[in-house]
């Protein structure tokens, strides 16, 4: 599967990736974030589509599920019960609910909606001016 590789040393905290995420989904909120640590070094915190996804294990409606073929962790907002267990379960604090109604989980989908054949086309990767995030095969 292809995952977004994060090269933290190149990140300038410009938030173009956050903008791209919001624009790609025409959403009220972003599915990724960038923060700085105690040493003021920028840290892009993106969904990893983990091999052992805690959000999937904790989801009791099946809204979060691991796609066996693509390897991506998919979120189905129709099934979601807005119980927030996944927000608590994600060890890296990637998840949140939308800021308007607190019902939808802001979950990265590798922008597969941007392609005809469901292949990943993350806009964040496309727009990053410093190539700090790139799409790589793992």
């Amino acid at each position: 599967m292809r995952r977004i590789k994060i090269d933290r040393s190149k990140c300038i905290g410009c938030l173009t990736c956050v903008t791209a995420c919001v624009v790609s989904h025409e959403s009220c909120d972003s599915r990724n974030r960038v923060t700085i640590d105690s040493k003021t070094k920028a840290a892009p915190i993106f969904c990893r589509h983990c091999d052992k996804p805690e959000c999937v294990y904790t989801c009791m409606t099946g809204a979060m599920s691991k796609n066996k073929e693509t390897g991506y962790v998919e979120y189905n907002k129709e099934r979601c019960a807005s119980c927030y267990m996944c927000i608590m379960a994600c060890p890296y604090g990637v998840l949140k609910s939308d800021r308007i109604e607190y019902k939808e989980i802001m979950k990265c989908n590798m922008c597969v909606h941007r392609t005809e054949d469901n292949k990943p086309k993350p806009m964040c990767v496309e727009k990053c001016p410093m190539s700090a995030i790139t799409l790589e095969e793992v």
């Binding site: 995952r3 105690s38 840290a43 915190i45 904790t58 604090g93 998840l95 609910s97």
Partner: protein, 410 residues
């Protein structure tokens, strides 16, 4: 290879699925009292009418066929013969197994109050048929009383408000959801439910049930002498593991439930267990993980449970999200408490000592809270983090594996 899985909820289904993922050829038989796959955690949404049966499913469509599972529904295991490796089920059938996964979960505990167990209008809230019974009965009754203000009790209340009936809540502790929430966080819900007409009785228990000649409850007498009318009592005072069928089998159980090790193994060879049947850490993610881990070990792949942190929960009632981790009050004065509050319903509380966090409650905005779970679970020392405690995020623990996944370092 013949795998048999007892129980079709979180543990059983995930266990069966994992077995199929690992072994395309093996025979997998699923035996369950349930005749459908449904998430017990959102049963109250069905009761409320905002979800239909199909939407209670927590797996993909046509899960059983896709995974080539033989499913014996409406059947309870009545006995396990460890020597001959057979399960005798309530239909009379005998099912042979090479490896067995016991994931029979738990059931409503009826406290030893006289007339309770026999009362036809005293129902638990654990299974689908409990839910259907309540929905049917609530049509004709007037005074619904819920015993126990834990998560299940509050689920029930939120699922019944739409009926417009009189609803009362009786709880021994001084506030609702006392395991997860402190008084302040609980107050938001208490006030909200009060405004919806739910009468709440705290620091009181049910002393006596007044029944009619058919044994039906008509009134409840509380421990303080107060009497409240009741024509439907929902018992949400805890659960007990479904292990009675294991008596005399040789499979070890204790007062909580089935005994398993970190690999999901019981004391008997080839017999595994997972989920609420163990009576420990009875939360959904634990059940799922234990089911998957047991399945791996059953299929010969060594897999170990490492996440024993179970005092974690989230809830969403009346549109108010709350998250609770660890302890909800400081144990003594050596523990520090940080609180952040605003006028928009956001309440944050963190309990810490010597650079380690022991508990947290977030109400309102739960964004990005997952890091707190790890800080408490792993007892990570946060003294080096130079951020306000409520703003701590993964950046200070940032680490990337070779396959680009994140990881927390030792």
């Amino acid at each position: 290879m013949k795998y048999v899985v007892l129980g079709a909820s979180a543990s059983g289904i995930n266990g069966a699925q994992e077995l199929r993922n690992l072994d395309k050829e093996a025979e997998i038989t699923l035996i369950s009292k349930d005749d459908k796959i449904y998430s017990r955690c959102i049963l109250h949404h069905y009761m409320e009418g905002i979800r239909d049966v199909k939407k209670l499913e927590f797996v993909e469509d046509d899960f059983i066929n896709k995974n080539n599972i033989k499913w014996i529904k409406n059947a309870e295991a009545s006995k396990v013969d460890v020597q001959s490796k057979e399960v005798i089920i309530s239909t009379g059938e005998t099912v042979e197994f090479d490896k067995l996964l016991i994931a029979t979960g738990a059931n409503t505990f009826f406290p030893p109050i006289p007339n309770l167990k026999a009362a036809p209008n005293a129902i638990g809230f654990r299974n689908f048929d409990d839910c259907e019974k309540i929905m049917e009965m609530s049509k004709t009754c007037e005074n619904i009383v819920v015993m126990g203000a834990g998560l299940v009790g509050i689920d029930v209340i939120s699922g019944l408000i739409h009926t417009g009936k009189n609803i009362a809540l009786v709880e021994m502790k001084d506030h609702m959801l006392s395991i997860q929430l402190d008084k302040k966080a609980a107050l938001a819900y208490e006030k909200g439910f009060e405004s919806k007409g739910v009468k709440q009785y705290y620091e009181k228990g049910i002393k006596e049930l007044i029944v009619d000649e058919k044994g039906k409850i008509t009134e409840i007498s509380l421990t303080n002498g107060e009497k409240i009318p009741c024509d439907l009592l929902i018992v949400a005072a805890g659960v007990r593991s479904n292990v009675s069928f294991l008596e005399g089998s040789g499979i070890e159980i204790d007062k909580f439930g089935l005994l398993i090790d970190a690999f999901g193994k019981t004391n008997c060879e080839d017999i595994y267990g997972a989920g609420d049947v163990t009576g420990r850490n009875p939360i959904w993610p634990t059940a799922v993980k234990e089911g998957i881990i047991a399945a791996n070990n059953m299929a010969g792949i060594k897999s170990e449970m490492t996440d024993f942190f179970a005092s974690k929960s989230t809830m969403n009632f009346l549109g108010i999200p709350t998250l609770s981790l660890g302890i909800n009050e400081p144990v003594d004065e050596t523990y520090m408490v940080e609180i952040e509050n605003d006028d928009r319903g956001n309440y944050k509380k963190i309990i810490h000592r010597d650079g380690k966090i022991y508990g947290a409650i977030l109400q309102g905005d739960l964004s990005y809270a997952g890091v707190l779970t790890q800080l408490i679970r792993r007892q990570i020392n946060i003294s080096k983090v130079k951020k306000p405690i409520f703003k701590i995020d993964y950046s200070d623990f940032f680490n990337i594996k070779e396959n680009f996944e994140f990881v927390y370092e030792r």
